[in-house]
Amino acid sequence: MKTSVPRLKAERRELANGLVVLLSENHALPAVSVNAVVKAGERFVPDELAGLGSLAGELLDEGTEARSSQEIAEAVEATGGELASSGGYATTQLSATLLAGDLALGLELVADMLRRPSFPEDRVALEVSRRLAEIRARQDEPRLLASDAFNEIVFAGTPQRRPLAGYAETVPRVTRADLAAHHRRFFVPNNTLLAIAGDFDAATVGVEVEQLFGGWARDPAFRAPAVPAPRMQTAPATRLIRKEKEQVNIFLGHLGIARTDPDYHAVRLLDVILGDSPGLTSRIPRVLRDEQGLAYAVYCHAARGAGLDPGRFAAYIGTSPGNQARAVAGLREQIGLIAAAAPTQDEVRGARDYLTGSFVFEFETNAQIAQFLVSAETYGLGFDYPQRFVAEVGRLTPGDVLRAARRHISPDRLTLVVVGPV
């Protein structure tokens, strides 16, 4: 069966100030997506101010030197478009999805929010109070609690161990001055990408981008700070957290891989075979859900969270308390098996066909295409990556998967976290 590889036309420009602009025209619908990405987030925030990076991201649309929060919202919502700003671990993103005719307005707003956010005192106070409430609300979500506790162990010694939201102790410390300093230091054109995908004319938009962003001064002194790299834990660990709930929420795993790891494609394939595939085809959902009826939600993956830094290799299951021992034993068994013996030819063929055949679905929407442009730039993939992905994944063998499993999965160093009536 031939493989449908996405036909992606894209171009890359770099303004004199270092801003990288990525454009891809797609005229299927009269719509467009803009994604501005600053390569900074919680990763660069010290422990005592945990939450500063994500607050800075969320506050970008809460006021600029020229516009109030309501003026920004009114401008976007009058078009019916959607605007979202968020601060993540490695990046801070402003994204807008708009009808095609509203792109110029969208770009003007994005430029204003990126370059001149004012972090008004009252909006900072409001966001901090909302954030504190959200941190409390996490206590009502046992799966999130389990995930947080797992990260605490797996990413020990790095800012990655913290929830993006920060902590109840650190969030109130964040001041307007901290936010402004974070912005001054990291939000510079030579640390920013701007991706636009959809129904527009690249020549026209190129001129608009130059007008809006060309005057943004480069910071010649900018250097990304060093961040401690997470280390693979050397021994197994267990943490049980008691909550009165119907289910136990279980995470089992350890440190994962970075996006730039040479084994990335082999680990994607391993994921499809072990625990991350459509329906119940992969081993862990097939055995624990389809055969044993232990859970509705059960999965396992190592490549999904791969970024600049390693993500996590994590199996998850939510099950009744009476099934806990069987569920943990089942996960351990499957993790042990994948690291001990090569998968079958049929498994590898199925997983390869899935990854290469479904790649086309990652390029359906403008937002997806804009996101791909950002990844291509961030990880040096190149715009021909869809073709290369299909070719490279298509060559992987059972031996490649076993080698990757042995290198990246350690059944004797698993961290177990259980939240529920334990």
């Binding site: 919502e77 609300a137 459509p278 329906g279 009744s320 899935y354 990854l355």
Partner: protein, 415 residues
């Protein structure tokens, strides 16, 4: 402007199967999705949750496909499949690249007439469905939502949750499940939607070959139950160990296609969508009493609910939030909305519809859902109906529907 119904063709087979096709060659993708007009609305007391449980059983094997084979075929062809159940329908979809999609038709034809119900598969899947239900019980919203719908509907089956009551699920039998399947899964009770990069003539020929021989099936039994009018507010309190109190306010609201439905959609938007919305400005900015709120009014076959939800900040009282919501509703009943606010709400509805239907699968879902609960042509007039809503109509809809006597209020409070 984008018209999702443009070029859609409806074909009806002799056995009653409705087929909608939307051929477009802009992306090499085909979605096929089959809709059965059966959901929790069709379930009797003591038998709740069957429609959803049945959806799970349709992945457990047919006469042609062994257990797991449907998923395996999907995997090997690089596709995606899933299914969903709601009050009014159950739907199954496949997304495939355009060069390999017709296998979806073969699978659906086999599932429609020849699903297998092996006793051991039924028993094991019952455990899975019960675990799915427990996820909901452990979350903060499902219990409150279920209690509010159960109080608002006392006779009509919107009373019970789509996933069913745990006690009903526990006592469900394989025989009842198979009988339910035989009653509802027929060409006459189904709509097949095919959207994307395919040839309509070829596809219809294949549909005829595969589905044509399946008997039409019995006439679907209508849902006779009608919920009587509500005369007086209903209130309920759920106590839970929780960090945050939560509020749900639900008003009785009309069914899909009702002339009062468009002004209520506009009301839902200007109350709840975006940072310019009234509840955002009131609850999140002025009072600073909630972390999130939402307003939800979804088209359904029968009269339904207009639902407002809010998560209350620690230190704020759920009763205060309820009073603030009531004041905002009262303002809408008393005076007309400004032109600019009305224009913005209409633009939000229209633009979000366009932006929300970029994917071929989303287009197929919209067409199939409306064909199942009403008729797909309803979507062609959506923008015109929204544009036609005047400020006075909005005020009258608020005065007629968002009233205390037709309201059910649920509060989730600390145990």
């Amino acid at each position: 402007m984008f018209d999702i119904t443009e070029g859609v063709e409806r074909t009806r087979l002799a056995n009653g199967l409705t087929v909608l096709t939307r051929e477009r060659h802009d992306r090499p993708i085909v979605t096929s999705i089959i809709w059965y007009r059966v959901g929790s609305r069709n379930e009797e007391a003591g038998q709740t949750g069957k429609s959803h449980f049945l959806e799970h059983m349709l992945f457990k094997g047919t006469d042609r496909y062994g257990k797991g084979e449907i998923d395996l075929i999907t995997l090997e062809r690089g596709g995606a499949n899933n299914a969903f159940t709601d009050t009014d329908f159950t739907a199954y979809y496949f997304n495939f690249a355009a060069d390999r999609w017709p296998v979806a038709l073969e699978i659906e034809a086999s599932r429609m007439a020849h699903n297998q119900f092996a006793p051991e598969e039924f028993a094991s899947e019952k455990e899975v469905v019960e675990e799915e239900l427990r996820i909901g019980l452990d979350g903060p919203w499902d219990a409150l939502d279920q209690a509010v719908w159960a109080a608002a509907f006392q006779q009509h089956p919107y009373h019970h949750p789509v996933i069913g009551w745990l006690e009903d699920l526990e006592r469900a039998t394989r025989e009842e499940m198979e009988a339910y399947y035989r009653r509802w899964y027929h060409p006459r009770n189904a709509t097949l939607v095919i959207a994307g990069d395919f040839d309509t003539r070829d596809a219809l020929a294949r549909v005829g070959e595969l589905f044509g021989p399946i008997p039409a099936g019995p006439a679907p039994r209508p849902v006779a139950s009608r919920e009587p009018g509500q005369s007086g507010e209903r209130r309920l309190i759920l106590k839970r160990p929780t960090e945050m109190e939560r509020l749900q306010v639900a008003y009785r609201a009309p069914e899909v296609g009702h002339p009062d439905s468009p002004p209520l959609q506009v009301l839902a938007t200007l109350l709840g969508t975006g940072k310019t919305s009234r509840l955002y400005r009131r609850l999140e900015e002025r009072d600073q009493s909630v972390t999130h709120h939402s307003v939800d009014y979804q088209d359904r076959i029968d009269p339904t609910l207009f639902v407002i939800r809010a998560e209350v900040k620690p230190g704020c009282a759920v009763g205060e939030v309820e009073r603030a919501v009531a004041e905002e509703i009262d303002r809408l009943r008393q005076g007309p909305v400004a032109d600019e606010e009305l224009r913005r709400a209409k633009q939000l509805i229209k633009a979000r519809f366009v932006l929300g239907h970029e994917q071929v699968a989303d287009q197929a879902i919209a067409l199939g859902m409306y064909e199942t609960i009403h008729r797909y042509e309803h979507l062609a007039g959506l923008f015109a109906r929204i544009d036609g809503v005047g400020a006075d109509e909005v005020r009258r809809a608020a005065a007629a529907y968002l009233v205390e006597d037709h309201c059910t209020v649920g509060q989730l409070t600390h145990a």
